[in-house]
């Protein structure tokens, strides 16, 4: 513990730390390798993750395990219809002091932590959902006119239950856009399920070992996040990311300008109502930088961008009813966009 890296982490330190965290998580989480990698990538890229999965696939366990492995504070909020914003951000309550005087004191909510799990976020009202927006985007909450800073690192993981959609409130696009990646947890296969059964029904505990000291963990994670930002992106790669994002936007959209330079795919024009926002390009580059560090490089490559494209762009694309009726999902659109842009010889 704590021997992972020096003060200023190097590329090798990053990759080694990343793999160690992965290994600790996989002591508890069977399978979901790609999901775990994307989760950690989002963490070190400074973003938040939306996890979509059916019940019982280990969403909560995954977040808890991550908190244990990083030795960071962890909170969980079960979103329900009657959940209020103050239940997330905290509220001012009247407390009696030692001298007997009563005064309003801010009582922090569960948002005040390093890792926050919002379970089934789509079951809360939009008002409550939006309470997370400020915290996720600006690392601060405002209660009764007073702004309170959140301590970095701050990592929000929200889960979506794709079934039992009655009585749910789908996340608005603005809130979806604030999640760096959307990770999908599928059902485990037979081998993974067997391992899950044997590892969770026995007497032995998984024994998650924290990678960092509790007092050093925030600094260590922030150091790794800073290293990610140091990774270099050539202008050609930035242009490639930009063209990928623009290619997700349908040609007939009234919000699209300068159509001449954009790469257009017929499937996008047919099935996409709104394409990715500029945050999608940022997510592409940041995710690619993490991938580059994991590969031992200080520069991003086109392959890095393409590897994170589905996670970074799919949830930012709004499909129309034609796509729903034809069974087209956003991931398929993103894959088509990658092929189109690659064929256009950017």
């Amino acid at each position: 513990m704590s021997d992972v890296q020096a003060e200023t982490p190097t590329v090798a330190d990053f990759a080694r730390t990343f793999r160690r965290i992965q290994a600790e998580i996989h002591k508890m989480i069977i399978g979901h390798e790609q999901a775990v990698e994307e989760l950690l990538s989002a963490l070190f890229a400074g973003g938040h993750v939306l996890i979509e999965g059916v019940p019982g696939t280990g969403k909560t366990t995954l977040v808890k395990t991550l908190g244990l492995a990083l030795n960071l504070s962890f909170n969980r909020i079960q979103f329900t219809v009657d959940l209020m914003p103050a239940d997330i951000t905290g509220t001012r309550v009247i407390l009696s002091g030692e001298d007997g005087r009563r005064e309003f004191t801010f009582q922090p909510g569960p948002a005040f932590c390093h890792i926050l799990l919002g379970d089934e976020i789509n079951r809360a009202t939009p008002k409550t959902q939006s309470a997370l927006l400020e915290a996720m985007a600006e690392l601060q909450v405002t209660v009764s006119g007073t702004t309170y800073r959140l301590k970095p690192p701050y990592f929000v993981m929200a889960t979506l239950n794709p079934i039992e959609m009655e009585g749910t409130y789908p996340l608005p696009e603005a809130q979806l856009d604030r999640f760096l990646f959307k990770v999908r947890l599928n059902y485990p296969d037979e081998g993974e399920l067997t391992r899950i059964i044997s590892s969770t029904t026995g007497p032995d505990d998984a024994g998650i070992q924290p990678i960092f000291h509790a007092d050093e963990a925030p600094g260590q994670v922030e150091g790794l996040k800073k290293l990610v930002r140091e990774v270099m992106a050539a202008p050609a790669m930035e242009i490639y990311a930009a063209r990928l994002v623009r290619a997700t936007q349908p040609q007939n959209s009234r919000f699209v300008t300068d159509e001449a330079k954009a790469v257009h795919d017929e499937m996008v024009n047919r099935y996409v109502m709104f394409g990715s926002s500029p945050r999608g390009a940022q997510a592409l580059i940041l995710g690619a930088k993490v991938r580059a560090l994991l590969d031992g490089r200080a520069n991003i490559a086109r392959e890095d961008i393409e590897q994170v494209a589905v996670s970074a762009l799919a949830h930012r694309i709004m499909l129309n009813y034609a796509a729903l009726s034809d069974g087209i999902d956003a991931a398929h659109i993103v894959e088509r966009v990658i092929k189109s842009v690659r064929a256009a010889k950017v």
Binding site: M232, A236, R297, A298, A301, R302
Partner: protein, 427 residues
Amino acid sequence: MRINSLALQHAIFYALAIMIGAGAVVFASAYLLSPLVFLIGSVAIFFIAAVGIAGAIRAGWRMRASAAQAAAIADERAELKGRLSTIVALANNENRGSLWSYLVEDTFGRQDEFAPAKIERRRVSRGIYPLAGALMLAALAYPISKIKRAPQIIPGGGQDDLTVDLDDLHLRPADPGDESGMPVTADAATMRRLEDKLARQSATGGDAAGNSLNQLVNRARDMAGDLQNKLTGQQAASPHRLNLRLADAGGDQDRNEIHRAPDQQKNKRGEVAGQFKQDQPKSNRELDLPPEDDSRQPNSQPSPGGNGEVGIESNAGKDNPNQDDSATDKSIQQSGENSSNGGEAHGIGADPDSLFGAPAPSKLGNEGFEIAIEARPVDHGPKGAGHAYVPPKVRTPLSLEQEPDEPVARTAVPADDRTTIKRVFER
């Protein structure tokens, strides 16, 4: 550096290949094609070659690579995952971050992977193959020229006297500045008749559009022929001074001169102040007559619409002196438009002056002075060397009862009907 060298080689090799290939094709076609086809083909090849060369240069220009493009190529071929591209792109950027040195060292450690020999193994562009092909094509064109080189015949070469039928001459004024003509001398009467024929052709030469088109075609043919001569190395006929005599102006002796020496006439027929006609090769056979003794045999039968009618008419003239006299009366008035009413099917036999026998000797004689006129041989090109002059078609309205494609069979004509028949043919 190597990539740019290959791009330059690509442009040069392809351009050279196109030029050499096109030149070889034009050179070979100069031997194989007739002048007009050669001209059209050469123009087409010229344009295709120009487009091809422009395309080759454009492709070479596109193949050239800047430092960033070369780095991208190296990244792709050596699987460096953007290392070189990033270094090249950010080399002049001051805010490169703390990982810059790591990137440079990491890339430098892989320098063996992106050595120029590994990135681009070729030193010579693939354009060398089409260039080699073009050179082979050019090498093949030379034997073709040797095989197809026809013996050069300079019409009029070594001949001072040229006897032609006035009807076989197509007259047109010499082009200004055209010095390729052949000075021709003739007696005053001959020159007068030539001038008359020229004047008549100018007056009744048909529609202007057709004439101008013919002139254009003739000029194009001339130009193509000259170009072919230059390419094949054959010289156009040098302007010889010819003493021109008309076949019908010197009596039987002159007229029969055509019959006696058909082979010579093939190369001697000419166009006054212009060029010889060569677009009706069928007339080669028309002039390919038996020797004088054979043509005068009485059992020679006319062949309606066939070849060799000239000789047959001569026999008829010998057999019937009256007819000969009739023809003699008309011989002075002989004109070009009368001669070929029946077109090729009738030939000279359709001449109203010789309908009933050989024409009488012309009353015109040699006045003893010469006038130089321009003319040049008909068959001066490599392809046309074997062709003889073909009398031009003259548009003359036919009789309503006459079938244009079925010449009237020659039969014994009653003396009373001869005048009528002659009028019909004179139309």
